[in-house]
Point group: D2
Chain length 354, copies 4
């Protein structure tokens, strides 16, 4: 058993509490105790005036809390420990700093800005954007290579060629490179060329993909799904870490709510919450988080003010003619202005802009 696995198992010696209904009979209580023992738990019983409460401690990692909730006489079941361990703050109380080439660090004193076009459309487009974001102070170049789109007639991305162009542009302008990996089959080419592998919101719970990324020795930036709780985000990070890859960077990019003015509601509070629950770096993507160019700068400023470790921002040298998501891409001059604003804000949280 690899080391990470045994740690995960150890982590799952979860204390669990089962509160019986007031009306529960002794027979029902005994059946629940029996059930817990069969599941491999050790049981501690506390009999109160009104209600009996059972504490369960044990080694089984994959039980389903609902099985207990449905036993007769059971009132409530609570997990007492978080269902993740490697991703939890107590695993590394001092916090994780992901160390990248060129001295770039995510999770340290510098807020790292990752910027570039939504999709890599051509060498010319990519190099123009790369030069502009580098000059403005970005340290990482972002750009989509594979772009499955909701319309079968939309631009689908340049694929492997895009990945190579990213590397080339990154090297030329002294930028690291991040791009999204969408399927297991894309991992080798991605891992060969990029510095950070990005997992998109729709793949946050693609466990087969996460398992493979656990075997890679490159940092993974994992985006929160639009309907994912923060606990689920941490469980997905745990999945990667259980495979031995501890270089996981988390990212908020908007959740789905009843508000319809923006595509998603960017949950800025996720930043301080993740910093409390986990040691992993927490970043923000205000471009996808809002979906509208005019909201990107305010939300990028808010994310830095709330303490994010890095930003992912779409910048297109000619956003009006972008082949995808132009509406959420900043114009280069907007990006430069935003960088200046971020430089004012970062000291308020004891940081500088990388």
């Amino acid at each position: 058993m690899p080391k990470a696995d045994s740690q995960l198992l150890a982590a799952n010696q979860l204390p669990m509490i089962v509160a019986m209904q007031e009306s529960a009979s002794e027979e029902q209580i005994q059946q629940v105790i029996e059930h817990l023992v069969k599941m491999g738990f050790e049981v501690h019983r506390s009999t109160g005036v009104r209600q009996t409460v059972l504490g369960a401690v044990g080694a089984r990692a994959d039980f389903d809390i609902r099985e207990l909730e449905l036993l007769s006489g059971v009132d409530q079941v609570h997990r007492i420990s978080a269902p993740y361990k490697l991703a939890g703050r107590s695993f590394r109380p001092e916090g994780t700093i992901v160390k990248l080439p060129n001295g770039v660090e995510i999770g340290g004193n510098k807020v790292v800005v990752m910027a570039g076009p939504c999709s890599v459309e051509s060498r010319e487009q990519l190099f123009a954007a790369a030069e502009q974001v580098a000059n403005a102070g970005a340290r990482v170049l972002r750009g989509g290579a594979f772009k499955p789109r909701s319309s079968p007639y939309s631009f689908q991305g340049l694929g492997e060629e895009a990945v190579k162009l990213l590397r080339e542009a990154g090297d030329k302008f002294k930028l690291l490179v991040i791009s999204e990996v969408m399927e297991i089959s894309q991992i080798p080419v991605m891992a060969a060329y990029v510095d950070i592998l990005q997992v998109g919101a729709r793949n946050m719970q693609n466990f087969n993909l996460l398992r493979e990324l656990g075997k890679v020795r490159k940092p993974v930036l994992l985006k929160r799904g639009i309907a994912a709780t923060l606990e689920e985000l941490l469980l997905s990070a745990e999945y990667i870490m259980a495979g031995g890859n501890y270089e996981v960077i988390l990212c908020e990019r908007g959740i789905r709510t009843f508000e319809t003015y923006t595509r998603n509601t960017m949950d800025i509070s996720a930043i301080p919450i993740i910093h409390k629950l986990s040691h992993l770096p927490m970043t923000a993507d205000p471009s996808h988080g809002t979906g509208r160019r005019d909201k990107v700068a305010p939300m990028a400023r808010a994310a830095v003010a709330a303490g994010c470790d890095a930003l992912l921002i779409e910048v297109h040298h000619d956003a009006d003619h972008a082949l995808s998501d132009g509406a959420q891409s900043l114009y280069p001059e907007q990006f430069r202005k935003l960088m200046d604003e971020l430089r004012i804000i970062a000291p308020a949280v004891g940081r500088t802009i990388a």
Copy 2:
């Protein structure tokens, strides 16, 4: 260009309305008109006392409405036609009946019940469940073959062996067979053995998978994502249909809301809404929709009363020892009782239980 493609393109001659702000200048209005013309639209202008409104009609399928919303002087942009066409009710006003072997039809006068275990665990388990659901009146056997789980230590499914067992059990008990396809690589073996290919909620927007399923000539049951609007569900159906596979069956299985008592909130209203918007059969999965055994029967009854065309129900011959999702599986006797209740309800909507 294949026929379905040209139909889709034709469908996308979408009239669109751009309402200018009251304060918009003539120059701003001209820029918006120019922009629309460049995008390939024909523009009709209506100048009011207070506000100018532009109507755009054109052939471009993949435009992003936000690009227009962000132009200066623009107040609001509305698509006037639905962004799907093949999936829309007006494409087949009489409704689609998916015809399957053994005379089973989904979308006709009979409500079809598909039942079986969450996962295929063994020949013994599957055959026991198959016999029980067949005797109770189910027409289709369900069972998961590939089970990527949130814990790397959980049961992961029997894979191809499970698919073959499903076929064998189906043939023995005169049941058709449905199982979930999770990756493109699983399509060939699935298509060889099962009667309906199921797409899970997490893959509802896996467009690469949808595109490949458009090439298959087997019915596809497409589940709504937990954060997907009904319009998005229909867009995903459109994606499959655009490839030429018109045998798409839709399925409600719960959406994520603020209510935490159940995993998801099953949206029963999706059934009459889809029936209004689309000609495709609409089904319901109360097992995943509620996640709790004691809520499955009430929601199954509700779905039939609301007019669903078929039900997907998890039944395990020994639910307390199921390797996955036992908590939402009915006991066989519960399933038999439910079938009796459904037989009472179906005539209220002019149906019988198949």
Copy 3:
């Protein structure tokens, strides 16, 4: 102290569990214990290999769980008992049947249908509607008297005159009468004329109003707020019951979700959940729950199939000219057809239509 109050206090001897962080120091643990003792709790300590867990039992009703969550060294805090008592199933395991005049019972074997116009607009309109719903089998006449509207220019209701007309129409057609009370000042006139006082979704947490309704000796139908959890609904019921009025009837009328096709998403699963958690009758309002006439009948059927105890349905004798919410009012012939469908469905849940 009135009897209900002392019961409520007794109910709040809540066992609570405080799980300390693995890294918590002995000093932090002692501080939490001290804090709990100061709050009036008795504390039981369980020291594990990895983590210390404290059980707190005590008499203080109004503590705020967050105060504990924020103490240093605390990992998680769980209430073990439900925060309501009088509304909980164990208070009356056999279920509550609200007994009304004319032998009408809500919560018994008959599903009661309450129907009528959204607003009382005139004697002629009300009497026409009352006659139609009575003939179709409704037992209770509904109708709004006070109608604060989102536009100051909309019809605002007839007020006290409407209440008297409701009584008169009810008496003439042998119907009981229900109407919404929106402010404390309206209680006396309402209580004098109607059989059931309705609290609207927006007032579900108007605690001053609930407190006054606790003093009334008439049944109260309490609607779930559009953003209220079922636990919050039960807490509001508890508020009324704590005042001594135990005749509370609950009602689902749609919650706000990300889906935009309907105004609200009607949560049918609330029906079986409330029946499990509480002894109070649970009803459904598909008119407000969907907001669209063509969805009312399917959702009404679904609610009965899921086990609701009563239905609230808007019917207007001339819905196209209704002064409010005409779009969600059934035409009389639609209502008659629905009643026939409900008569088919009710036996599936061992009921008849009253």
Copy 4:
């Protein structure tokens, strides 16, 4: 008719678009046109190859868009103008600055901080808090006077005495005063003593209260309901303004989402969105927006970085013994530190802290 009323009516000459189904018959089209004409609209018809679109312009303010959606042959209905006018940006493109005594302005170049305890508990407590927040740089003292609580045994507020204490403390420490008005009957005493009347989230759609506040000549701070869209917030503002009170200040305080870690999810993006849609000042309440002391400072910083015009922050001189909401109140030293951080951030958006 008062001036504001006629403006509102004028505002409601809304262009509306009705798109007919492709399959709509000429008869259906004529019926819709007739219906629109009866409703008082002027109709413009545009007959396309595939679909007919009707444009409706007219004077009727209170129509219900759903009535049209349900007519046979209708595909979609869109309002083209916003349903609010006085609250809309185009009513005062330059923005509203609410001018208060002592030279305090909300909506200008200074971000105003309003701080104080959740509830006024005693003279000693209030004066201690007032002195501390004044010294740290707050300009407005907040404090609840009437506190209806979810438990009938909780502290209910000091009422009128609290309002007078607020005034006294405000005058002593040169602070303006804001407090929440919960019922119409509280308006006179509130208006006599406080500088800003606050409307809580639960009352955002209490239209009777809003109407009365429209007659008051004091600024009103209107909080967004936890399930309210931004359009609904603006409609509620419109309600107050229609009465002639144009001094409305809006406030984000968290919306309900599926995420359960915090009570509500604070929607920071509401700040730039309201600034685009409306001329009214937009403020933020991170205390209620997060419900947890340790999240208040990050979210307060984020709100200023996103451009808010003022902040509402709970500060208790002894938060651990607060009688209400102590868990979300900052300690005085935390508040001072936060003020220092805000002073760093404000220049990034061209502001200073008042």
